[in-house]
């Protein structure tokens, strides 16, 4: 499956967090790499959305929609820092 990037889930994340999230700084719990959510690897083809670290490819976020409920697992992140929106 071809990897896209975090830009692809900007709308979904907006729905979950209520704000622009592609510029949020994500820190991988696996290798410690840090960068904007927009630069993470994103796989859309499965039953849910899988977000992986671009450096070590660990799973950092999983999003699954169950009927009308969006479930988000950020367990692979060690930090998610929200930027000041301008």
């Amino acid at each position: 499956m071809e990897a896209l990037d975090g830009n692809a889930i900007g709308g979904t994340l907006y729905d979950v967090f209520g704000r622009e999230m592609t510029m949020a700084q994500a820190e991988c719990g696996g290798c410690g790499a840090r960068g904007p959510v927009a630069e993470c690897e994103v796989y859309l083809g499965g039953p849910g959305v899988v977000v992986r670290c671009r450096v070590c490819h660990s799973i950092v976020i999983v999003l699954v929609q169950v009927r009308e409920m969006m479930c988000i697992d950020c367990g692979g992140l060690s930090d998610l820092e929200l930027p000041t929106w301008r």
Partner: protein, 217 residues
Amino acid sequence: MRTLELEIPDWPGHVAGQHVDVRLTAEDGYRAERAYSLASAPGEPAVITVERLENGEVSPYLTQNVRPGDAFEIRGPIGGYFVWRPDDGGPLFLAAGGSRIAPMRAILRHRRNSMSEVKARLLYSSRTLEDVIYREELEGEEVFHTLTRAQPPGWTGYSRRVDVDLLREVAWPPEHGPLAFVCGPTSFVESVAAGLVEIGYPPGRIKTERFGATGGR
């Protein structure tokens, strides 16, 4: 290929490079959603350009069925990473693959409308000349075309996939402090971004946006 002007209630305005998600819901409740970059500059009506994809779930409707006045669901504007504002500066090196020229058009129009003095170059990779979108409008810009599948007689542009040598010839040298935007299918984005790093662009000055080769996103 079709360009649609969207009239969106309570539209807050957008930033060059942002996209909207178009969501279609079938009578049985099945939903399909695709992202389309806005091709217009901030302050202009929201415009998307849609390429019809075989077996697509959203693009056949948007390119063939939708009529002026029809309504569909839009979410956006989306994105804060792959965006450019005049005070972000440059010089700008824009690289687009296929129909993903839309955000680059938004950036170039915004630069022009705001009378920005930031210099910009566009590298635009298409399969054939017929696949080049906004061709006439782009003639006023510093644009380098490469046609990867077929070239018309007398073609003087590039005729191969983007490689490091091509980037060395057309991209601003890294010592000019350029800011790069790369948008296209994943394979295109990966090779252009890697090539820019190889010729000396700092990774932090390269913004990337990947779309699936089938438009699936």
